[in-house]
């Protein structure tokens, strides 16, 4: 049994380890180890295409995670303890957003936005000189839609485990509803909100499939990596991959610590 577990862990970590190992190779071959050097890291960090894609990814991940966290938390607060038709409609929307394959969300967003832009631009452009197109905005909108749903589920889950007696006590002691929220509810759901933010950030940062459709002329880091792989594997991609994995790992450990503090059940 223990041997079996060991084998599965080896299966899970061997490919990751190989990428990390090969990224330190000094040679030109992506699939063998020739000496040790950090030169591919230097090469990757000095590649303007990589840095531009990285900047786009970070920008989109940060802004979409901020919006998703704020809007998702607001919705979760309103939905807790709510009944009736509005609640059912929102539950359905959250479910659809989580269930529908990312690829379908991607194409749906692509054709809907392109259609809307084609209708709006002939009016908008002469008036304002602006022209709507796919890009950072559509990436933020599409990523945020999915991650907002995750935030709703996380924060609502936490809200439902709160002790109502605390809120009643606060009200009885004369606190205003906002005062109760600020001093009683908010501190208790804060870890879930922060965990939601970090998960939203990593999802957006790692997402390829939705971005592939709605990025327009922009290139995110996963799109850059994917198109590079198409042209052939290089040690530079190994170095980028290792850095991305290390970064996600750090963010995730943060999220895990937050969730632990909120005493919620750990989630994958």
């Amino acid at each position: 049994m223990r041997l079996y577990a060991l084998a599965v862990y080896a299966f899970l970590y061997l490919p990751i380890a190989i990428i990390a190992l090969f990224s330190f190779s000094a040679g030109r071959s992506a699939s063998s180890m020739q000496g040790f050097s950090l030169s591919w890291y230097g090469r990757a960090l000095n590649n303007p295409f990589v840095m531009e894609a990285l900047w786009t990814s970070v920008k989109v991940a940060f802004l979409s995670a901020c919006l998703a966290t704020v809007v998702g938390t607001m919705a979760a607060l309103a939905l807790t303890g709510m009944k009736g038709r509005v609640r059912r409609v929102f539950d359905l929307a959250v479910q659809i957003a989580v269930m529908i394959p990312g690829i379908v969300i991607g194409i749906a967003t692509l054709i809907a936005l392109v259609t809307v832009f084609d209708l709006v631009n002939p009016w908008l452009e002469p008036l304002t000189g602006l022209k709507l197109s796919l890009g950072t905005g559509s990436l933020i909108g599409a990523h945020g839609l999915f991650t907002m749903s995750l935030v709703v589920l996380l924060v609502r889950g936490r809200m439902e485990t709160l002790d109502p007696a605390l809120i009643e006590a606060s009200n009885d002691l004369g606190a205003t509803p906002f005062g109760t929220f600020r001093q009683v509810t908010f501190p208790q759901i804060l870890p879930a909100i922060l965990a939601g933010f970090l998960l939203a950030f990593t999802f957006s940062f790692d997402d390829f499939i939705i971005a592939f459709f709605v990025a327009g002329a922009e290139t995110t880091l996963p799109i850059y990596v994917f198109s590079s792989i198409r042209r052939g594997v290089t040690p530079e991609i190994n170095a980028i991959g290792t850095m991305v994995m290390a970064a996600s790992l750090i963010v995730l450990i943060g999220a895990q610590l937050m969730l632990r503090r909120s005493q919620a059940r750990p989630r994958p």
Binding site: I19, D206, P268
Partner: protein, 285 residues
């Protein structure tokens, strides 16, 4: 400050509601409308009402066939590999190690699936496992760009998602039931079949559903490890929307994918319920 509760609620819900309407419901409605439309001369969409696109679906039969074979197969393989690990983690491991081992299962899942799949190009490519097999006299084994490679990528990518719900179900299992069974002289394998397995069914169900749903829309793994020879509906969609720009037909394929997914998931849930799986705890995401 005399804002009523329901007005506060409406204010809090408005941004999320608008977001869902504009970026989820509108796009899905557009896909549905386009799927009944015609293709315009320059690609894209021309208004119309026709069932032609749906009638044309058999043209992409191979993509649906591949998806509907490899997605269930991948789900089953993940399940068979995940169950013993989840059992080990839930039953055999001491609490001290449990958290760390669990985190170790989850960590790969939250790192980029793109980079993790790409790692298998090395392992399955000429200098990887085939070179290793050649040392034992098995020459010319081709692994990369085969259905097997896609299957390996699938299991590798989605294993953590399968382990976790099964672990949660097994963790809740009352150990006294097994002790009672042992006291009554039940051999361990029968206790497993009659107690442990049925009680872990909700976890098995949740895990399989999560993996299966994600697999139905898979694009990256077949495109990286299948080398254009093993393609899923996801690959057909990328081709139809980004290369050949046949939006109405692509929309019909997308609607077809969602329908096939809903029907399969529905049938599976019903079958699993009949097996006495009880309530499914979907509280995982």
């Amino acid at each position: 400050m005399a804002m009523t509760r329901s007005r506060a609620r409406a204010l809090l819900l408005t941004p999320a509601g608008l977001w869902y309407a504009a970026m989820l419901l509108l796009p899905l409605a557009v896909v549905l409308i386009f799927s009944f439309g015609e293709r315009s001369q320059i690609g894209g969409y021309a208004p119309g009402f026709t069932l032609e696109q749906y009638a044309n679906l058999p043209a992409r039969f191979a993509a649906f066939r591949n998806t509907l074979t490899l997605a269930p197969l991948g789900t089953l393989a993940s399940l068979l590999i995940a169950y013993p690990l989840a059992y080990y983690l839930a039953v055999k491991v001491t609490p001290k190690w449990k958290t760390m081992l669990l985190v170790l299962v989850i960590v790969p899942f939250w790192t980029s699936i793109l980079i993790r799949s790409y790692a298998w190009i090395f392992l399955l490519g000429g200098k990887g496992i085939p070179a290793f097999l050649a040392m034992f006299g098995l020459e010319d084994v081709r692994l990369l760009n085969t259905p097997f490679a896609v299957l390996v990528g699938i299991v590798y990518g989605y294993l953590p998602l399968m382990v976790f719900p099964i672990y949660v179900a097994l963790e809740k299992l009352d150990k006294r039931l097994l002790e009672a069974a042992a006291d009554l002289g039940t051999p361990p394998w029968r206790a497993f079949l009659q107690i442990t397995l049925p009680l872990s069914m909700p976890g098995v169900l949740t895990g399989s559903m999560l993996v299966f749903i994600l697999l139905m829309g898979e694009f990256l793994i077949p495109s990286i490890l299948g080398g254009g020879k093993v393609f899923f509906v996801g690959n057909a969609l990328v081709d139809l929307f980004l290369q050949s720009r046949n939006w109405p037909f692509g929309s019909a394929v997308a609607v077809g994918l969602v329908l096939v997914m809903l029907v399969t998931v529905g049938l599976y849930t019903r079958a699993a319920k009949r097996f006495g799986a009880g309530r499914d705890d979907a509280a995982l995401m």
